[in-house]
Point group: C2
Chain length 135, copies 2
């Protein structure tokens, strides 16, 4: 995918920082925190400011090409995938997995007459890798 193009399509001027931040989000798919994005890019962009990362992510969210994942109380994570999907966080290794779910099945009958804009499904536990390795 052409990232500059993608940003332009969504009414975002493709500056160097914006391209790099989106590229990181999109290619790593690791649901990073602001801090992780910053630490991974500051080598390549030495003048990068954490404020820019915050500003840029807020812009991405406003324009609808990024969403937040609040699976933990104390940190906000970011995701470039915009299709409805859930997240599983392994409490052992910390990895976050994308999971599909059937949107229709999630409480939709209870929300008759409600206007649903956004659904988040968060599951926590231990991933199969950690379960087989450790135990």
């Amino acid at each position: 995918m052409n990232i500059a193009q993608h940003l332009s399509t969504h009414d975002i001027k493709p500056s160097y920082q914006r391209i790099k931040i989106y590229e990181y989000l999109y290619e790593k798919m690791n649901h990073p925190t602001v801090d992780l994005i910053y630490k991974n890019l500051v080598g390549e962009i030495p003048t990068l400011s954490k404020t820019t990362v915050y500003n840029t992510l807020k812009l991405f969210i406003d324009k609808g090409i990024t969403s937040t994942v609040t699976i933990e109380d104390n940190e906000v994570r970011y995701d470039a995938i915009m299709d409805a999907h859930g997240h599983f966080k392994c409490t052992a290794c910390g990895a976050i997995y994308d999971i599909k779910y059937d949107f229709k099945d999630v409480a939709m009958n209870e929300l008759k007459g409600f206007e649903v804009k956004e659904t988040q499904v968060h599951v926590k536990g231990k991933c199969n890798q950690c379960l087989t390795n450790k135990n």
Copy 2:
């Protein structure tokens, strides 16, 4: 329900503050923030400290009689209902509704071999009340 009893059953000594905090959680069912709990109880317990509210909620969570609701990025809410259920937050009036969902349907087939400890379902949008009133 006898709250002191309930706390004792879960290995929590039923102090005055703990009883009052649990009582607030359980009776109001309003998914309050720490600040809201504090503001509502400090009239009745003038010496109450916000630290006590934090400590107490952490204890409740450890002992399994309270859970957190992180439907917003910037605030943690608390809930005394421990059955698996989801939450709908109205972006217009701010109210939080409990919603039931079918646990089996939520991505369970994708998590074969995973150990699931906790599931949270968050839905945002506008409630029927706000939709009929406003529009």
